[in-house]
């Protein structure tokens, strides 16, 4: 059986791999969407935080012998704490200014963090082994899927659903959303808004770091791994609609699939197809697929 002249096995295989990549896009764009939605900050440091997560896991294993499963929890906590420090030291002074300032600040931070890691660890990157429990691959008939990749998709979907649930369906989420609408009013009800905002940024940073830990066994842990990805992720967020949580998740997964398709039919275009989609979407829906028209 063939689909558009491509054996259906190859086709299904590529779709599945697209989904794996989409899982990363979804998780990263989710963090961006949360931060933008609740803080109004365009967080250009997101790629650097993702890289930090991967490096934290690698350092934990290499220097302290802390295994993958602990790193999966500890690395996001450490990077989340770093995020809190960034928010307290720098970002909180910028909320009243134009969003452009937040963008510039986080971009500068990303460059500094990447530069430091390049200086310390070089550009070739470090190898992080796949945890033993998830090593090996399963033959699905149409392709051999490494077990680890299946795990990535599962974790990512769980995390995305969990985040969406917290923000849209819980009391804490309601406070968060209310805080962004009218901070002063929410504060008068006795809710500590600055604390909430700080923790939100920390949580966004932790989400990026979690994606980094998940990616570490798949690609070389490398200071530039974030900057290679972040531009695509921003395109995902713009297509999904800035600040829309559901939008970022759905768009992330969908664009992973679109990219997977492109790799079958015209591999050379696979790194621009996301941007082509972005242009088309913005022409028809300037606020993005799931964004509210301003």
């Amino acid at each position: 059986m063939e689909i558009f002249g491509i054996p259906h096995q190859a086709f299904l295989g590529q779709l599945l791999l697209g989904l794996v990549n989409g899982a990363f896009y979804a998780m990263l764009s989710l963090g961006l969407a949360v931060i933008f939605g609740l803080l109004g900050v365009v967080n250009f440091a997101h790629g650097a935080l993702y890289m930090l997560g991967a490096f934290a896991a690698w350092i934990m294993l290499d220097k302290f012998g802390i295994n993958y499963w602990f790193a999966l929890v500890l690395a996001p906590l450490a990077v989340g704490a770093f995020g809190v420090v960034i928010e307290r030291l720098f970002l909180k002074h910028l909320y009243k200014l134009d969003p452009l300032y937040g963008l510039l600040l986080t971009f500068g931070l990303a460059l500094i963090v990447e530069g430091v890691f390049r200086e310390l660890y070089g550009a070739s990157g470090q190898t992080y082994p796949v945890p033993e429990l998830l090593a090996g691959a399963t033959n699905l008939g149409f392709m051999v899927l490494p077990n680890y990749r299946a795990w990535v998709v599962a974790v990512s979907l769980a995390v995305c659903l969990g985040t969406w649930f917290i923000i849209e369906r819980t009391r804490l989420g309601a406070y968060l959303r209310a805080g962004t609408e009218n901070a002063a009013l929410v504060q008068t009800f006795g809710i500590n808004v600055p604390m909430m905002v700080m923790l939100t940024y920390g949580a966004g940073a932790a989400l990026a770091a979690l994606a980094g830990v998940l990616a570490a066994p798949i690609i070389q842990v490398n200071p530039l791994m974030g900057s290679n990805l972040i531009i695509v992720v921003f395109a995902v967020v713009v297509i999904g609609g800035m600040g829309s949580i559901l939008g970022s998740v759905v768009t992330g997964l969908a664009l992973g699939l679109v990219e997977g398709m492109t790799r079958v039919f015209y591999p050379e275009a696979s790194n621009i197809v996301v941007f082509v989609v972005m242009v088309l979407v913005l022409m028809v829906r300037p606020a993005g697929l799931f964004g509210k028209e301003a």
């Binding site: 190859a10 791999l17 990549n21 550009a123 691959a137 798949i218 530039l224 290679n228 079958v264």
Partner: protein, 397 residues
């Protein structure tokens, strides 16, 4: 009258500039990827090697001090060529060394030819530099895609790996390497089933590898380098491609092997022009490098040192920095140092021995960075493009 005065002033200005070029410092430029996927195999340490060469030469040539300028081309041909042009026009650059990335090197070679400045290509692989795009001012010093293909490819095809599929970096270098390797495979009785091209600096290789796997070829030739090579190699292991196909890294540097670890690279055969543990002189150079960088030098970093030294020797012999005279001195002399022995041919190709190495297993490796064992030494005449194969007009047939 006024016009004459301006003309006179201009003439004096030009004369002053011209004489400054003959008496001021001799400037050597080095443009490479300083920060991205090729920064470890050459990069800032490569620039430092040029500076070491100048220091060891005494810091002066023809009684003029020597200055080394370095820049990051960010893997962009336009950045590389505008920097080269700026250095030549404004700083009176005497010689340019081009680090990694063939796209940038092909662009810089054109400018060097136009301005009649010697251009030493170290990091770039594309054999076009001394073939279709050859110039009287270009020297291709370390390796090229033809040599990689002939040395690594021939060995594999002769061992019975006849059926090839390529994973190729989609720019000048990848295309050259894929083309040259295909030629070698076919010349030795093999076939090329197909190829898939990936963008430079791609991080996810899984779907490209899946396509390679469905091709059912025996050999997967990786026509890429640096970070692209390591990520492709890692994903190939993860998807178990190494169980059904033999993976051939066509351009592998010792930094890549170090970064992947011996567990991921054991048994890999690769072609290179130099290895730090090949003789006493190389070990001495490597130790000095290690003391500063805590890693071993790549063949490119050794070549950076070597080419700068030999250029300065040629300047000394020619008694001038004039591009034509230095080039003829350089092509006339024998090159013999810790890096390699050889001679630069009329087309600018430095003809020297190439080596086929095999990556040791973790058991065989007895010291840090003890990674390679030599399988074969291939004489330069066999490794590089032969005069008969060459399309360069500077080669007399």
């Amino acid at each position: 009258m006024k016009l004459n005065a301006i003309a006179f002033a201009l003439a004096i200005g030009f004369a002053a500039a011209a004489s400054a070029q003959d008496t001021g410092p001799v400037k050597i430029g080095f443009i490479t990827d300083m920060s991205s996927l090729y920064a470890d195999i050459d990069g800032p340490a490569g620039g430092e090697m040029v500076k070491w060469a100048v220091q060891d030469f005494g810091g002066k040539v023809l009684n003029r001090p020597i200055e080394v300028l370095t820049a990051d081309h960010q893997n962009k041909a336009d950045v590389a060529s505008s920097k080269a042009r700026e250095w030549i026009d404004k700083d009176g650059l005497s010689m340019l060394i081009g680090g990694t990335n063939s796209g940038t090197a092909l662009a810089m070679a054109k400018i060097a030819e136009e301005k009649k400045r010697p251009f030493m290509a170290i990091g770039p692989g594309s054999a076009r530099l001394t073939n279709e795009a050859c110039s009287p001012y270009t020297v291709h010093y370390a390796y090229d895609t033809v040599a990689l293909a002939k040395v690594a490819g021939t060995a594999l095809v002769k061992a019975g790996n006849k059926n090839w599929y390529f994973l190729t970096a989609d720019y000048a270098f990848g295309h050259s390497l894929e083309g040259d390797a295909s030629t070698v495979v076919k010349a030795n009785g093999g076939t090329v089933v197909g190829a898939v091209r990936h963008p430079l600096n791609a991080s996810d290789f899984s779907s490209f590898l899946l396509q390679a796997q469905t091709s059912r070829a025996q050999v997967l030739g990786l026509a890429n380098a640096g970070g692209d090579f390591t990520n492709a190699m890692k994903a190939a292991r993860e998807f178990g491609i190494n169980k059904t196909m033999k993976i051939a890294g066509l351009l592998v540097f010792i930094n890549d092997v170090h970064s992947l670890g011996l567990a991921n690279t054991e048994g890999l055969q690769l072609a290179d022009s130099w290895y730090w543990n090949q003789d006493d002189a190389s070990r001495k150079f490597a130790k000095r490098f290690f003391d500063k960088y805590k890693r071993m030098p790549s063949s490119l970093q050794a070549a950076d040192y070597s080419v700068a030294t030999n250029y300065l020797k040629a300047v000394q012999a020619a008694g001038t920095t004039d591009g034509d005279k230095v080039m003829s001195a350089l092509k006339g002399m024998k090159i013999d140092d810790f890096y390699n022995k050889g001679q630069i041919r009329a087309d600018g190709r430095m003809i020297h021995d190439m080596y086929l190495y095999q990556v040791k297993s973790a058991k065989e490796s007895t010291a840090p960075w003890d990674y390679y064992k030599m399988v074969a030494k291939i004489p330069g005449e066999q490794a590089f493009t032969t005069p008969a194969e060459s399309k360069c007009a500077l080669i007399k047939k």
